[in-house]
């Protein structure tokens, strides 16, 4: 049988020499080289996989070290997914937690609250982060995933939502504009369209307001931040806000932008814009001091913690161990800042895998501990949880059975 071998002189005779003779020998060599390269490449990848992890920085390890509980070290791989609002905090928590439990490998996918809870309800993750508390339906579904009982949610991350604005000559880092709830509602509903509107002027007599048009900037994606902001607006100015509460922006006013990053970018790109975003990202933009009682309160972590303290728990939440904060936006508590995002962790009381249960318990215990909350406050600008709330959450965490 005739063979097409580049090397054999007989073969070359019958074919255009330029196609075959130079081609094949090179090609075979080429293939060989390529396969060697591929193999060594894979080997290199495997080798790289082993190193590359950052050893915990010295500054963070003592923060976690202080909280070193007497509990045994946790090991294994654990996954969480959910709210992207928690991302910065969770990354800091994971880094500090792993400094304490070097054998635990934890990952968090900031895929979003909805996706996070759905994934949790399939049993693929150990916990979910969510900007919204569980719905009754979701609580029921969770009985299939948890070894026994139903899932519960506890607050872990409290962060003020800043109302940011960009107005030439007025805005700037740590500069505030005083607005009450009514005015905020009217601005975001497109009823107040100029910055020198009387309603704004009256509340800011010392500020020279220009005749610039207001451009409202809101989230274009479904978001817990939107829902929390709107529930504030709806609670304090029900007459001026007729829309149903939803995680999507309800009206046609202004511009939408994707994510906190999108809102901040959009606001900073034009004169006369106003939007809302997680306060830690406000940067150089001006922020609104919100009227609470008779005073105007600028955002701060402490002020945000106050409103959470002043708020009751939601007793309509069905299910055991649940700690759902029913934010009292209309609070008159002194120095409280009522525009707040409370984000939860969703966990099971029992897990099919005892090791996972152990991890979840120790993880949550760390997250809500004073150190854990301080790490988040330092790196994500969140408000540390108060002792009263911590006591309630701890009670729920104690319900997790580790056998």
């Amino acid at each position: 049988m005739f063979m097409m071998r580049g090397g054999s002189p007989e073969a070359q005779g019958g074919f255009p020499p330029d196609v075959i003779s130079e081609g094949f020998e090179d090609m075979r060599k080429n293939l060989l080289v390529r396969s060697i390269a591929a193999v060594s490449g894979v080997a290199m990848l495997a080798a790289l996989g082993a190193c590359g992890n950052n050893e915990p920085a010295s500054g963070s390890s003592n923060a976690a070290g202080k909280s070193a509980s007497s509990a045994e070290k946790i090991s294994g791989e654990f996954q969480g997914a959910g709210a992207s609002s928690q991302q910065s905090a969770v990354e800091a928590w994971i880094a500090s937690y792993q400094a304490q439990n070097p054998d635990a490998k934890i990952s968090y996918n900031p895929s979003g609250s909805g996706a996070g809870v759905s994934t949790f309800l399939t049993g693929a993750t150990a916990w979910a982060g969510s900007d919204a508390s569980l719905s009754d339906d979701e609580v029921q579904q969770s009985s299939k995933v948890c070894a026994s009982g139903t899932a519960f949610d506890v607050p872990v991350y409290i962060s003020p939502i800043a109302i940011v604005f960009n107005l030439k000559g007025v805005s700037g880092k740590d500069k505030h504009l005083n607005l009450d709830g009514e005015t905020i509602a009217k601005i975001f509903d497109g009823k107040i369209t100029k910055w020198n509107d009387d309603a704004i002027k009256q509340q800011n007599p010392k500020v020279d307001l220009p005749d610039t048009a207001i451009t409202v900037v809101h989230r274009s994606d479904k978001s817990g931040t939107t829902k929390n902001f709107l529930s504030y607006v709806k609670d304090v100015a029900p007459d001026n806000w007729s829309y149903d509460l939803s995680e999507n922006w309800p009206n046609e006013v202004g511009q939408g932008a994707k994510g906190t990053d999108g809102v901040i970018n959009t606001v900073s790109q034009a004169d006369g814009t106003i939007g809302y975003a997680d306060a830690s990202k406000a940067g150089d933009l001006g922020t609104v001091a919100v009227k609470v009682g008779e005073k105007y309160v600028p955002y701060s972590a402490e002020a945000a913690a106050k409103v959470v303290d002043a708020s009751p728990l939601d007793d309509t939440a069905k299910g055991d161990n649940r700690v759902v904060v029913k934010l009292d936006h209309a609070t008159k508590a002194d120095g409280a800042y009522p525009v707040v995002l409370v984000s939860y962790d969703v966990v099971c009381p029992t897990y099919k895998d005892a090791n996972t249960a152990k991890f979840v318990k120790s993880w949550l215990t760390y997250v809500i501990s004073e150190d854990g909350q301080q790490v988040a406050a330092d790196n994500a600008g969140s408000a540390p949880m108060s002792d009263t709330l911590r006591a309630k959450v701890t009670k729920s965490i104690d319900a997790i059975e580790t056998k």
Binding site: G52, N54, E55, G59, S60, E91, S96, S111, N379
Partner: protein, 337 residues
């Protein structure tokens, strides 16, 4: 080209058509003003084309420049050799860096490699079928149309498909690198089929006939002669196809997930890829620095990381492109017909 020359004649004699009955051949002679008009038009069109060219280059160079200028700030060996585990806010890690993209590079390479393994055999065999077995047949025509349709499948639909398939077949909540590979291979297959098809077409028929004449079976003719002759072209086509999918973001967000540590197992656990990393870091925008932090704490570190990762991504894509073109040029089939 008949129609074209007719068009020309028409254009040239348009003004004369009105007084057609009396044929005065002198009138066909171009007047001076007419020549001038044509000259002006020529210059104007030339200028217009050059202007179009320059205008188009402004945004394209702006994209490259922005990425390079912002990316080099944070791009160093430390950035390439560490992952994002143990990175707290804007504070430096023990190694002196601010986290890196080692895990994302590995994820990108593995997921793309997975897509390659799926789509290259299928793509090449499909093109063999189209060209060698049923050239011009009815079924081949239908498949050709479907390949065109497939090349228009939006990447997000490919992502949804992989997501739905794994949800139904494997179970809900499945995230792994291979799922991403499946999504990407859906985007790669049509590109591979099309480029291989072109390459097989230009393999001279003499080669096939000579082989058949010597009694070589069709299968051996195809594998040993046709495919080998077309190999360089196919390889460069495949590399260009890789360059196209390596930058996909949306389908990987919903299939491969996102983690901060290095995962080398394609079939289990989530994987981060470079485009997803760029997007996630951009989404973080800023981090807070604690009041007691040292001056080394950088608040806009996520944006810096995003740009640096984007630069690495561009460099990877460009290198792949160059390799593809080099392969095509060096091993180009010289037998032109």
């Amino acid at each position: 080209m008949m129609s074209a020359s007719q068009e020309y004649a028409q254009a040239a004699g348009e003004s004369l058509m009105k007084d057609a009955p009396v044929i005065d051949f002198d009138k066909f002679q171009p007047t001076r003003s007419m020549i001038a008009r044509r000259k002006r038009k020529d210059v104007a069109m030339g200028a217009l084309i050059s202007v179009a060219f320059i205008v188009a280059l402004i945004p394209l160079f702006s994209v490259l420049w922005t990425t390079i200028a912002n990316g080099v700030k944070r791009l160093n060996l430390n950035f390439l050799s560490y992952n994002m585990s143990g990175v707290i806010g804007g504070q430096p890690t023990a190694s002196g860096g601010y986290g890196g993209i080692q895990h994302a590079i590995i994820g990108t390479l593995e997921i793309t490699f997975g897509a390659l393994v799926i789509s290259v055999p299928i793509g090449i065999m499909c093109s063999v079928f189209l060209i060698e077995y049923s050239r011009g047949g009815k079924f081949a025509k239908a498949i050709g149309l479907l390949v065109d349709v497939m090349s228009g499948v939006p990447s997000i639909v490919a992502g949804l498909f992989a997501f739905s398939m794994f949800t139904i077949l494997v179970g809900p909540g499945t995230f792994n690198g291979f799922e991403g590979s499946v999504a990407l291979s859906l985007l790669m297959i049509p590109t591979v089929v099309k480029s291989s098809e072109e390459m097989l077409k230009i393999v001279p028929n003499d080669l096939r006939e000579a082989s058949y004449a010597l009694g070589v079976t069709k299968q051996r003719t195809i594998t040993k002669i046709v495919l080998r002759t077309a190999l360089p072209g196919i390889v460069s086509g495949v590399i260009l196809a890789i360059a196209r999918v390596v930058g996909e973001t949306a389908p990987l967000l919903m299939t491969a997930g996102y983690i901060s540590t290095t995962n080398v197992n394609l079939f289990s656990g989530q994987m981060t890829t470079l485009p997803v990393y760029v997007y996630q870091e951009y989404s973080k925008l800023k981090v807070a620095c604690p009041a007691h932090a040292s001056a080394a704490c950088v608040t806009d570190i996520p944006m810096q990381r995003a740009w640096a990762a984007a630069l690495v991504l561009i460099v990877i894509v460009l290198i792949l492109n160059l390799i593809g073109r080099l392969v095509a040029r060096v091993f180009a089939v010289k037998a032109e017909r």
